[in-house]
């Protein structure tokens, strides 16, 4: 009798008002809706593909691509496979992103520090740069550099020359190219040894003299190798022939425009991050450093920046990710990056939208997650060293 009462007390919460049950119900409904939608879309896609006679699967990967690409880091020709074209595009994306990240960081830090300069004019210029550049769409800036600046440049014969070493024309930027000769591997190895030795000396050593020791450690191994086997590095300088340049290395206008726009645009965001980071360091820290008699340069390097970096790194990571993702705007000026080659040309030729777009998205997701993981690792290390 009492058992039956405890089973159904008169003031019990009705079944449908119980939070746990409602939670389960809601989740079951959501799961069913998501799975249902995915299933429906999948079914529709199979139907539509079959009706339009589009193949599915990844069989296209090994078929010959049949189109040329003007900027390739690896060997590629029209007879190469779609898979090879994918690799070319991916490498081009990584190239543009890496160079863009380095340049954006340099410019961004300079402008960010300039935003806090004691000099009012420099402060004003830095402010103007940030407010103008970051409020204009990146695509517009890419178009500007490409269609309004680089393309209307004169031809190779009237190219703008920089000390006869580099040339800027409507064919792009011609730069001297390093030519490794016999024994270059040894020089490179010696250089690496020198760097490692210099860093070790700098960390372990004490006093002002260690700077000289580490400089010596940096320079001696490569010089020794050079003395033994001769300087194994030549330069191929671009030379103007009748119609075009010979030698050197050519950066296409598309590449130059993309790198310029990406790095200048991202720099305006990095500048604000750097400014906020430096401002987050309390004034007392600076004053304490000054009271200890540290010169301004040392104060910035040893006191302000290490503390500012903790604030700067997480949003900086985000900007690096953004730059990498934004490099996909290359498609608009036909620089052969991953999106332009793969999600553009390959998609048009094969018609296999689902596979191609999925692969493209997966690649960017992987890049995003990798950079995020790397920066997270750096961030954790930084925090441990500091405390």
């Amino acid at each position: 009798m009492s058992a039956s009462e405890s089973k159904a007390p008169p003031d019990a919460v009705p079944l449908w008002r119980r939070p746990r049950l409602r939670g389960w119900l809601l989740q079951a409904l959501l799961l069913a809706a998501v799975l249902g939608a995915v299933g429906l879309m999948f079914g529709n896609a199979l139907d539509n593909l079959a009706r339009q006679g589009i193949a599915s699967g990844f069989g296209f990967w090994d078929q010959p691509a049949g189109f040329g690409i003007n900027t390739t880091l690896i060997e590629y020709s029209e007879t190469s496979s779609y898979g090879r074209a994918f690799l070319v595009g991916l490498l081009n994306t990584l190239l543009v992103s890496a160079i863009g990240i380095v340049l954006a960081t340099l410019v961004g830090f300079v402008i960010g520090v300039a935003r806090l300069s004691p000099n009012a004019l420099i402060r004003g210029w830095a402010y103007a740069y940030v407010e103008v550049i970051r409020n204009i769409p990146l695509l517009l800036q890419i178009f500007f550099w490409y269609f309004a600046v680089l393309r209307p440049l004169p031809g190779p014969r009237e190219a703008i020359s920089l000390f006869d070493l580099a040339f800027l024309s409507n064919r792009g930027l011609q730069l001297p190219r390093p030519l490794p000769e016999q024994g270059f591997g040894w020089l490179l190895a010696a250089f690496l040894v020198g760097i490692v030795a210099a860093v070790v000396l700098l960390r372990r050593g004490r006093g002002g003299g260690r700077w000289w020791w580490s400089l010596a450690a940096l320079l001696l191994p490569p010089l020794a190798v050079a003395a033994l086997v001769g300087w194994p590095l030549g330069w191929s300088v671009p030379e103007l022939t009748r119609f075009n340049f010979r030698g050197g290395m050519a950066l296409t206008p598309e590449f130059v425009a993309l790198v310029l726009a990406l790095s200048l645009y991202t720099a305006s965001f990095i500048a604000e991050i750097v400014r906020a980071g430096i401002q987050s360091v309390r004034r007392g820290q600076r004053e304490a450093a000054a009271a200890l008699g540290l010169p301004p340069g040392l104060t910035l390097r040893k006191v302000v920046l290490p503390q500012a970096m903790r604030v700067i790194v997480p949003p900086l990571t985000n900007q690096y990710l953004n730059l990498t993702k934004n490099s996909s705007l290359a498609a608009a000026i036909a620089y052969p990056d991953l999106v332009s080659v793969f999600a553009g040309t390959v998609l048009n030729q094969t018609g296999q939208a689902v596979e191609v777009i999925s692969i493209t998205m997966a690649v960017y997701l992987a890049i995003s997650l990798t950079i995020a993981a790397l920066m997270g690792w750096y961030n954790r290390r930084q925090a441990l060293v500091e405390r």
Partner: protein
Amino acid sequence: MERMPPPNRIGPLAWARANLLSGPFNILLTLLGLWLLWAIVPPVLEWALLKAQFLGDSRDDCGGEGACWVFVRVHLPQFLYGFYPEAERWRVNLGVALLAVFAVPLAWRRLRENVWAWAALFLAYPLLAWWLFHGGLGLPEVDTSRWGGLFLTLVVAGSSMAAALPLGILLALGRRSELPVVKAVSTVFIEFWRGVPHITVLFMASVMLPLFLPSGVDLDKLLRALIGVAIFAGAYMAEVIRGGLQGVPAGQLEAAKALGLSYWRQMRLVVLPQALRLVIPGIVNVFIALFKDTSLVLIIGLFDLLGVVQAAVTNPQWLGYAIEGYVFAALVFWLFCYGMSVLSRRLERRLNVGRGAPQELA
């Protein structure tokens, strides 16, 4: 006894000494700044104003050394309306004016707390605007392929902003939910769309979406782009709002629960008002980013402001005026984005004034 400040601490000369000439390095910087001024400002002014050509209506009127704003002048209707038929452009103007009619009353405090005023803006206005812009029911129809220019930019930006807030709030709440399935679905959704470039989202919306729909259902190109934009707008907004949710003290939620409020009331009456206020700058930043990103729709073949300008500068009849076109487009985008950031700074300051006291008590 009041004393005058020492004479060498005030006045323009003293300011210059402190800010421009305080040391040898500073003097060097000043020289650099002055050189930049000299190298940039006069040539730009000369090109854009002094030697520029403003009047005229054909290419023959251009020719001087300066900018030829005739190019912009001739193309202005296109830049503003795209290929919208000339006789129907009043509908676009009316639609924009109506937005002000719907939105401005919300600046009034009494109305801001009225649900109907918000419903009118978010539900009634879009329907009304669609009818005005697209036509049907008595108005001649204007296909969306003829929409363009600044008008299309505003349509895309407006709908992405309108979609971003509700979608972002739902996703952010979902990501902080205690229900594992809800949390997982929201987290994967947010992180996926934030991890891929916007272009690929638009590509997906334009080439993959039609495959996912049952045959016979044909979504308009503009509508597909809007769906793509809304998806990533929601994902980005969700992360901003999540930051705000984390900033609301746990005691607030506990108090709301103790009062016996239902989940949605806890959120609507207690948590969200505080959370959203915390992240107003972040929300506006997302809006600014969305506004700039509307220009991406030109890659899938829609003619937004940048798309129309691009078509005009690559038009063989008007070659050579690319800089003028881009400068005009940049100026328009800049005015909108800079305006939004100024507004957000002002709003932030005003809201902070009211919040200072109770925080100090705690």
